[in-house]
């Protein structure tokens, strides 16, 4: 199995999303991940560079645009979390509930410290996923090349593990986006193989639309959770 720069970038960005907790880093890493995915697809022999002299294929450009859109949606939402909307409609019970949530969130933030133990589970699950992503292309190859197989297995597994180990709503969304990127790569790689029926415009279009819709849904839910609990922590959703 040979690894080129795009696969390494894809691996590092997905692995870092799994490990890191700060949304400022993970959202940037998501953009890097989409960029690497576009680069990886662009250099595949089944992709024709159909966009003039730049040597770019339209499919790779679509992936890049999708990535920019999803990242922008999540970043803009995260940047505007602190704003309050529709508070004028709230009754006094709702406003008291919000003040309580604000105090609880402030208390939680003041006691929050970076503990190494919080990273142990994501780290070792990431190691297990990495081993699985290296072994699976050998015992169960699906894509035309082992590199592509490794890339989609790693994206899907790291996405699932990001969802499983996530401590906040935004990170669950990042996990889902990694998974959808994985199946996007699988579809593009497998359907372009000679034995397959070929790439179709409609599924490709819908894949990109679904990823953007997913980013919108996550942004909306994250905004609602933050507006209600003043934190994105999932543990707060199940308290009381």
């Amino acid at each position: 199995m040979t690894f080129d720069i795009w696969i390494i970038l894809l691996g590092i960005s997905a692995g870092s999303i799994l490990l890191l907790r700060d949304w400022r880093l993970t959202v940037v890493l998501l953009l890097l991940n989409y960029g690497a995915l576009a680069g990886l697809l662009n250099e595949q022999p089944f992709m024709r560079p159909d966009l003039g002299q730049a040597g770019l294929s339209s499919l790779a450009l679509i992936k890049l645009i999708t990535g920019v859109c999803t990242t922008l949606i999540l970043a803009v939402t995260a940047l505007t979390f602190s704003r309050d909307y529709g508070l004028e409609d709230l009754d006094e019970f709702g406003q008291a509930e919000l003040r309580r949530a604000l105090r609880a969130a402030a208390r939680q933030r003041s006691t929050e410290t970076m503990r190494l133990i919080d990273y142990v589970f994501p780290f070792w699950s990431g190691v297990a996923a990495l081993i699985a992503s290296i072994v699976l292309p050998i015992i169960y190859p699906i894509a035309p090349s082992p590199g592509l197989d490794f890339a989609w297995y790693w994206l899907a597994l790291s996405g699932v593990l990001t969802m499983a180990t996530a401590n906040d709503v935004l990170k669950i969304g990042l996990g889902m986006l990694l998974c959808t990127s994985g199946i996007d790569l699988l579809y593009s790689a497998v359907m372009s193989a000679p034995a397959a029926s070929g790439l179709k415009i409609m599924p490709l279009l819908l894949l990109s639309v679904v990823q953007i819709l997913l980013a919108l849904a996550i942004a909306y839910l994250a905004g609602l959770v933050y507006g209600r609990l003043k934190t994105l922590a999932i543990s707060e959703l199940y308290r009381g």
């Binding site: 409609d89 709230l90 009754d91 019970f93 709702g94 509930e97 919000l98 699906i142 899907a156 699932v160 969802m163 709503v169 669950i172 889902m176 998974c179 959808t180 994985g182 199946i183 699988l186 579809y187 497998v190 359907m191 193989a193 034995a195 397959a196 029926s197 179709k200 415009i201 409609m202 599924p203 819908l206 894949l207 639309v209 679904v210 819709l213 997913l214 919108l216 849904a217 996550i218 909306y220 839910l221 609602l224 959770v225 209600r228 609990l229 999932i234 707060e236 959703l237 199940y238 308290r239 009381g240």
Partner: protein, 483 residues
């Protein structure tokens, strides 16, 4: 072009309904009008007349035409109920988007596209869960937010499993690579897990229980009555498109069938031990889904016909039960419905709706659920008596749950007004407040529930109106001859 119009007309009207969201009655009227126009369009579409657009085949089979009318009917009933009971600010827009996407599933004959549209439905309907009424002075509850998040994650995971399965089916060649584990089993496992999540089969049912417990009734109808039956049609399309899966699937089909029967049994047991009225109803729906899935996995004429009649029954029963439940709770909120035992006597028509819908869910004649149950039992009897016993036990548990539910919440002893207290010192008859009278049921809600019950009874009493079309569709399945 009628196919595209069928899909994009409700989608475009959803934007108009969104703009009118601050005028809910106008938005609902517009949405109902849109669905009535859709019905007229649906009548114009020629069945079995394929059209190819952007590499995707559009086709409306006679079976899918039945489901098209069913979904439009459910949509109209739900939007009409929204005129009576409280609903979210964007309910009509989300309703139209959901109907448009469900119609897309019915007419598009491409597995990849339908899997993605199913995910898109999940992304749309999740908004209905957290949608609050216009100007509501309350916050979305934590449980509702958790429900929405859980639903979103599970629907995306389900979509990913289905998509991987469809990619694998495209490159799968039967008999290739002997000695290796057959990909057919892996693909069937992916498909089964994906559809089990969508159909809320136990142990993948938790989203359904949370949804019915914490989301609004009308939002729950949009999420259960439209996408769940559509999912089963997608599974049918999958087996129709890839019958080769069943040649190599072998024992995987037995596992699928037994798993579905056990799932129905477990859901029935959980329904019996559930605490609240809404939880019981949710488990009854999960149990019904298990039985439908069993009939489907039996891959026999009787089983598949039973499953298809079952999903028609599921859509109608869920709509009836949840609208009735919303009317029982309105305007006294959920606490009253949970804490009373004489709901049937207080609101006879809404109570009858819950009872009638419940009877349809447990597969009682003369509702269509009865026809479905008989066909599924016939399929189970043809396979193995052990499986027949499991299915019968699941149905028995569901029936017991409905009896328990009726006694606990619906037909308990009527409140008898206590003897009039003697007047206090200096109090006259004029000082006394009149005794509160239970609010009578609005005529519109009486009419709506009566129509829904009448439609279910009509289909149940005259199943031969639908059965020949369903059986013809099942007979045409290559999958049926593959096993």
């Amino acid at each position: 072009m009628l196919y595209l119009l069928l899909i994009f007309f409700p989608l475009s009207m959803a934007f108009s309904a969104f703009l009118l969201r601050r005028l809910p009655r106008l938005a609902i009227a517009l949405s109902i009008g849109t669905l009535i126009v859709e019905l007229l369009l649906a009548v114009q579409v020629r069945v079995d007349d394929p059209v190819r657009v952007l590499g995707v085949t559009f086709l409306l089979s006679p079976l899918n035409q039945i489901f098209l009318f069913l979904f439009l009917g459910v949509g109209i009933a739900t939007l009409t109920a929204a005129l009576i009971v409280p609903h979210g600010e964007n309910f009509s827009a989300i309703g139209l988007l959901t109907v448009g996407q469900t119609i897309a599933i019915l007419v598009m004959q491409d597995s990849f596209v339908t899997a993605l549209v199913l995910v898109a439905i999940g992304l749309t309907t999740v908004l209905a869960i957290v949608d609050l009424p216009t100007g509501a002075g309350v916050l979305v509850s934590r449980q509702t937010l958790a429900t929405a998040l859980k639903y979103l994650v599970l629907m995306v995971v389900s979509g990913i499993l289905l998509y991987i399965a469809y990619v694998l089916t495209d490159i799968f060649r039967p008999g290739e690579l002997p000695g290796r584990i057959s990909p057919a089993r892996f693909i069937l496992a992916l498909l089964a897990a994906g559809f089990a999540l969508r159909m809320a089969l136990t142990p993948f049912h938790s989203w359904l229980v949370d949804l019915i417990s914490y989301a609004g009734s009308l939002a729950a109808i949009l999420i259960i009555a439209l996408p769940a039956p559509a999912s089963l049609l997608v599974f049918l399309l999958t087996l129709q498109s890839f019958p080769t899966l069943l040649f190599e699937g072998g024992q995987a089909l037995n596992v699928l069938r037994i798993g579905a029967a056990v799932s129905a049994l477990l859901a029935g047991a959980l329904a019996l031990t559930a605490i609240t009225l809404r939880q019981r109803i949710a488990y009854l729906i999960a149990s019904n889904c298990g039985i439908i899935f069993y009939g489907f996995a039996s891959l026999s004429l009787a089983g598949l016909s039973g499953a298809l009649v079952g999903v028609i029954n599921l859509a109608l029963a869920v709509t009836t039960v949840l609208i009735s439940l919303a009317l029982l709770e309105h305007p006294h909120e959920r606490l009253t419905a949970e804490s009373r035992n004489d709901l049937f006597w207080r609101r006879p028509v809404a109570g009858a709706g819950v009872l009638g819908g419940g009877l349809a869910l447990i597969g009682w004649l003369p509702f269509p659920g009865g026809t479905s149950s008989l066909l599924v039992l016939q399929a189970a009897a043809a396979i193995h008596w052990g499986e027949l016993l499991i299915v019968l036990a699941a149905m028995g548990l569901a029936a017991l749950t409905l009896v328990q539910l009726a006694v606990q919440y619906l037909i308990g002893s009527r409140d008898i007004p206590s003897d009039e207290e003697p007047p206090l010192l200096g109090e006259t008859e004029l000082d006394r407040l009149p005794l509160p009278q239970p609010a009578s049921e609005p005529l519109s809600s009486v009419a709506l529930i009566s129509i829904l019950l009448a439609v279910m009874l009509a289909i149940g009493l005259f199943p031969n109106v639908l059965l020949p079309t369903i059986e013809a569709a099942v007979r045409s399945l290559a999958a049926l001859h593959a096993v």
